[in-house]
Amino acid sequence: MTEALPVLLVFVPFLAGLGQFVLGRAVPWSQQFVSGFNLLLVLLLLRAVAGGEPVIADLGGWGEPLAIHLQADGLATLMLLLTAVLAVAISLYAIPAFGGHARSAWQFWTLWPLLLGSLNALFLSRDLFNIYVTLELVTLAAIPLVLLAGPRKTVDAALRYLLFALLGSLIYLAGVALLYAQAGTLDLALLPAATPTGSLAGPLAAALIITGILIKGAILPFHIWLPAAHGGAPAAVSAILSALVVKAAIYLLLRLWTGALEPLVSIAAGQLLGLLGASAVLFGSWQAFRQSRLKLVVAYSTVAQLGYMLLFFPMAVTAAWQGAVYHGLAHGVAKAALFLAAGNLLYYLGQDRLEALRGIDRPLAVSLLAFGLAGVSIMGLPPSGGFTAKWLLLTASLQTGQWWWTAALVAGGLLAAGYIFRVLRLAFLQSAEPAERRDGPVPGRLMAWTATALALLAIGLGLISAPLLDLLGDIPGGGS
Amino acid sequence: MTLASITASVLIVVGTAFYIAGTVGLLRFPDIHSRLHALTKADNTGLGFLALGVALLSGSPRLAVLIALVWLLALIAASVACHLIARYALDGTDSDSEPRA
């Protein structure tokens, strides 16, 4: 019975999306069922995985070296849980947000379940080539969603996103090809044993795979496609992209680094990734601080926050492992809340220049509260999921004696406070003119409270980390 | 070396020669019409010789018929394509096919 869960997690949203496509008009409520059912499936999976044994589905029943397996271990289940929770919230948020525009609503409600299924497929995949397909699936579901904000405004961003994503996945595929040439299998579970070491092809394959993923994950030198795409998309889509889609790439990196690529990676590579991560933290935060548009602030914040997750690689101990993954969860929830809240402000103002935010606290108090609460987690202040993650990473850096990463962690938190409070400060600033000069539509309760609920969850993640970290378990392979 | 294979080889060589001639013409001739002229004439004949040679080599009547069919289709397609290109060139819509700076 439990074997069915991973498969259903892929197929149910997929079929829902296809059905929506064939139907030809938007049926938002059906998606609520799908995301609810998806959450239920994940919770059932959670119970099954909690024992410590992963749930595995053999697709086609052809057995190990050949067939594709879906596997839900602690890490995958946590990511699925994040996806499922965000899916419920974002689906609710999207009902009012996409109301009115019949055609784009239909496109959204078609693409969104497909993206959900794709993400589930990516998290569950245990096959190198299948991961390539799911990566493409996620990308090609995500980019049309970006375009829903209006092709005229977003076409440049979407094109750039597409070009980088394509390049990234092909480089990844090149690595997969080289790896298959040596190991003769694509199964992640069999690869470490089957990969011969000591050749040139192995490390080259690993380097190509990692580079490809870094491009997809918008890590520092390859981040240039992200801000425009995430900043330009509709708020619900930005939330999905920042919280889940780029996260999926980093998830892969964590999974492969500790699994399939383990025999091929070196300490130097880990340090290099850590360096990239630390630079991303500093650079992204600084850029976020300098932006003049709200959604770009949040988008650059994503560039920065993804960097924290890379700090796992140089340290590679259990605390770092838990910290990086937990940061993924916390950032996912908080960033979704941040984008939804920003979307509410945008909805009211009709534009997202920071200057326009002056004195907006009165009409949009709830959304602003959500922004602030989510910001607490982004800054890594207690009690919040972001703080728990930061604490674990700090602990890891001192445990491994690599104290230099603490500087990035601490500085990143302070810079994050800089850009979050810059926004709040403007919102609280009383303008000379009366605040009623804007008469935009006040976002409905559904929009305001989904953002707030997610923000509260981001805070709450700081209090319920123990069971989640238990589920995640220690670093696979016991660390190096 | 049977007679058939020798004949086939000769046919293939001749066909290839026509192709080379056609290509040289394409590269050397000054304007589009003469280029077309060189290309279609030489290539259609070249293809004919090649097809004949390959059909002989294969030794199966079924394949030979298929190859003849391919040749026929290619011939029709080439002539129509050539006609269209020449027509566009005559209409002066030529500027469309050259990169516009």
Binding site: P382, Q399, T406, V410, F428 | -
Partner: protein, 494 residues
């Protein structure tokens, strides 16, 4: 029942946390309901604190432990030291709430204000009851965040600048503190606050690291406690409304820092280790410098609230000084000053708020003859000011007396000099105000009686008389002094 009783610190915390949540949820509408909830929560908290006070006095230790992360618990405990802080906060919260309701009548964004106000108190409760450094840090940062909207409440450019300064200092301090805590965690594992500290045996093996950690911890807390080079945010934060200033100075922020220093010295490092590492002297010197520096700066301020702010910088360091002298008598002086300074300073700020709200007076030279127009307020101001100077038998005198005794006992006679200098300086910046208020003729012709409204005056009177009472009845069994003596006895007995 016993479980619920044991979890008292949690209820105290939740009483204001829930109040904050409800106030946020209510929004701007229904002000009466909001006021009702606010006052009810403050009263409930007071009752809960009273019950706990009885329990702790009887020797009971309340402790709540919630697992937070693998290996790390959220610990809330109520020992004698935390009760000192909790009682002060609970009492003054009630007073400040009443004061703030009157002060902010008809001003915008009241729901936001009172929401964050309650949150602020919740954070203070958390700091007071924190049972380990980790828990302490959580509430310490929560306090930073909850106070910021209060500091910038007016929404002016000036308020925003003050808010920015406040954040830069406190978040930076928080980061330093976090580093210290993580380092300590890595060195010694999770450490609950235990009287006498738990690090003694590690002191020999890692003296250098422990010294570094101590410096980090004290620096982090010193920001909030406004120790000399780190005090910059405090005077600028004066733009906040008067009840906020009162809260910042008397109860929440500054005291949180001072309280943290006390915790680190007593319950993490222990007095012996602190002395062995040589950090006690350093702390004492830093505190003394701050005392003198703050007083000196206060003299040159013309804005009433700025002068009071520099006075706070100076006075709060008495607490650190008392702790750093590492001797029972000085400790009594320092800890009792936690309460005494709180009561006196809140009285002073309430009075400043009354002046500003009733007659729009902000600057000291506008105070001429105010004693005639607002006799009650000015009387309370006088009580507070004289107490600060340390006139016997007022509260400030008690603190200074014990500090002086402690200094003698510890053989640090230079501290007496610091105390004397501070007293003189206090007199220099307070007495002219009193002189203006009582003896100068008012500048305007109108010198009719125009006292502050009841909502403002009531809490002022309450705080003023409380400040008077803790001094006058210091010898009674229920006074803060008696409580602190009990506490110090426990601290030094093992």
């Amino acid at each position: 029942m016993s479980l619920a009783y044991q979890a008292m610190p949690l209820w105290v915390l939740l009483s204001s946390l829930l109040a904050a949540a409800v106030i946020f949820a209510l929004g701007e509408g229904r002000p009466r309901l909001r006021i009702g909830i606010n006052l009810a929560a403050a009263l409930i908290k007071l009752v809960l604190v009273g019950i706990m006070l009885l329990g702790v006095r009887a020797g009971h230790e309340f402790i709540v432990r919630l697992p937070l992360m693998p290996g790390i618990d959220l610990v809330l405990q109520a020992d004698a030291l935390s009760m000192l802080f909790i009682s002060l906060s609970a009492l003054l919260w009630l007073a400040t709430t009443i004061y703030a309701i009157a002060y902010l009548e008809d001003s915008p964004n009241r729901a936001r204000f009172f929401g964050f106000f309650s949150l602020c108190v919740a954070a203070t409760m958390g700091i007071a009851t924190a049972g380990n450094l980790f828990t302490f840090f959580i509430f310490y940062e929560m306090l930073t965040l909850a106070t910021w909207p209060l500091v910038i409440h007016r929404g002016t450019q000036q308020a925003m600048r003050a808010g920015r300064g406040y954040l830069c200092y406190t978040l930076g301090g928080g980061a330093v503190l976090l580093l210290g805590i993580v380092l300590l965690h890595g060195l010694a594992g999770p450490q609950d606050f235990v009287a006498g500290g738990t690090l003694v045996e590690r002191g020999e093996s890692h003296p250098l690291v422990l010294t570094l950690i101590f410096a980090l911890l004290i620096t982090g807390m010193g920001v909030k406690a406004a120790l000399a080079p780190l005090h910059g945010w405090l005077p600028t934060a004066m733009v906040a409304p008067a009840p906020v200033s009162a809260l910042l100075h008397a109860v929440a922020v500054v005291k949180a820092g001072a309280f943290g220093i006390v915790r680190v010295v007593y319950d993490v490092y222990g007095i012996e280790l602190t002395q062995a590492l040589g950090m006690a002297e350093v702390l004492a010197i830093a505190a003394s410098v701050t005392i003198i520096y703050g007083s000196l700066r206060a003299i040159w301020q013309t804005d009433l609230k700025r002068r009071l702010a520099y006075s706070t910088v100076s006075q709060v360091s008495y607490i650190a000084l008392g702790v750093a002298l590492a001797n029972p008598l000085a400790s009594i002086g320092g800890l009792v000053h936690l309460v005494h300074q709180g009561l006196m300073k809140i009285t002073l700020f309430f009075c400043a708020g009354c002046y500003a709200e009733t007659h729009g007076i902000h600057s000291i030279d506008e105070l001429d003859g105010i004693g005639r127009r607002m006799p009650w307020t000015t009387a309370m101001f006088t009580l507070g000011a004289l107490g600060m100077i340390g006139l016997p038998p007022l509260a400030g005198f008690i603190s200074k007396w014990y500090l002086g005794l402690g200094a003698v006992a510890a053989g640090q006679l230079w501290v007496i000099g610091v105390l004397l200098a501070s007293t003189v300086l206090n007199a220099i910046y307070f007495l002219p105000i009193l002189h203006r208020a009582w003896f100068r003729p008012p500048k305007q012709a109108d010198d009719s009686l125009a006292e502050a409204p009841v909502g403002l005056l009531g809490p002022t009177l309450f705080a003023g008389f409380a400040a008077l009472a803790v001094g006058l009845f210091a010898g009674s069994g229920w006074s803060p002094l008696a409580w602190v003596e009990l506490l110090v006895q426990r601290e030094y007995s093992p």
